[in-house]
Symmetry: C2
Subunit: 204 residues, 2 copies
């Protein structure tokens, strides 16, 4: 029996550490692949096209929207971000677990189309810590910093749209928790249970 | 904030290995206490009153039923089994996680009264293996053996009333999975999330 893969959607405010946790979980688990987003924003230092993102011009991105090629897309801080649909659904049907690290707007779009996904919200240990992490990243102007921080403040409210929250006190513990969530979700009783019961009974 | 404990209810057919898994998880985790059932059945070899069960006469047990002292009770193979209510609810309110290892009839009664519990069904690796485990236990007459086995066959259907299933191929792996379920359930977004968000916002 080919059990369908899990779509694991991870969001949280900037600076909560979702990127670090996702990187850590991918290094631990060979049964999870990461979906790569397309974006119109400029690459940050060290980011590579086709690895961190598919970097697109606005024109290219809009053509993909017209072709309904995204499972979700959103405009954030004047940049477009989107998740290519076919790639993700193919992998899930093949039984692979797919990790999507996306912003809240995107996650909620995915949830509408794919409610059976696993929606995880990463929280910082405190708002104070969140602010200092955003500052520490050093990639922001003072204006965008302020905008990001007040946006983070609002975003935290969205946790109640998610299935799970993880308080990221410490990356390795937070990653342990994410592993537990994935393992638990794999043995949830869902539609496939009838098939499992039938298999048991056939044996005799 | 005193987060309420989880009520973890574990069932499965005779011979699926639920007792062994529960023993193993209790030896690993200090944050889980086990609820002790009351029963009118005769103690098996090595079983101690107040540790494995509270052994009661039928008269004592029936008095407790009248006093509504059980979260659930059931008659199985002419013996009564029940879970003392006050003890369990007190511990949960104190934030302790409570493990109930009970038969399916009992579990479904608990689920009606306490739907926010975590309901886990233990499956044997195969029906063949289940049969040889029941025989191996050696505590059954041929007649009760046959009754138990055909009952196990029926019981498997009830898995769809549970939240999770664990296939008990190997005790330590099955226990790992149960630990993951418990850890995942601890960070589910439930009513308490509003309180957590409020705490975050207060900080600033």
């Amino acid at each position: 029996m080919n059990k369908k893969g899990l779509l694991i959607v991870v969001s949280g405010p900037s600076g909560a550490g979702k990127g670090t946790i996702c990187k850590e979980i991918l290094s631990r688990r060979k049964d999870i692949f990461v979906s790569i987003s397309a974006t119109t924003r400029q690459p940050r230092k060290g980011e590579v096209d086709g690895i961190n993102y598919f970097f697109k011009t606005r024109e290219e991105f809009e053509r993909m929207i017209d072709e309904e090629a995204f499972i979700e897309y959103a405009e954030v801080y004047n940049n477009l971000y989107g998740t290519p649909k076919e790639y993700v659904l193919d992998k899930l049907n093949q039984g692979e677990n797919c990790l999507l690290e996306i912003d809240i707007q995107g996650a909620l779009q995915v949830k509408k189309r794919y409610p059976e996904g696993v929606y995880i919200f990463i929280l910082p240990p405190s708002m104070k810590e969140l602010k200092s992490r955003i500052i520490g990243r050093g990639s922001e102007t003072p204006e965008s910093l302020e905008r990001r921080f007040s946006s983070a403040f609002e975003e935290i409210e969205f946790v109640n749209q998610y299935d799970y929250y993880i308080i990221n006190d410490e990356v390795s513990t937070a990653t342990d928790t994410m592993e537990s969530i994935i393992d638990a979700e794999r043995c949830k009783v869902i539609e496939d249970i009838e098939e499992i019961v039938a298999m048991f009974k056939e044996e005799i």
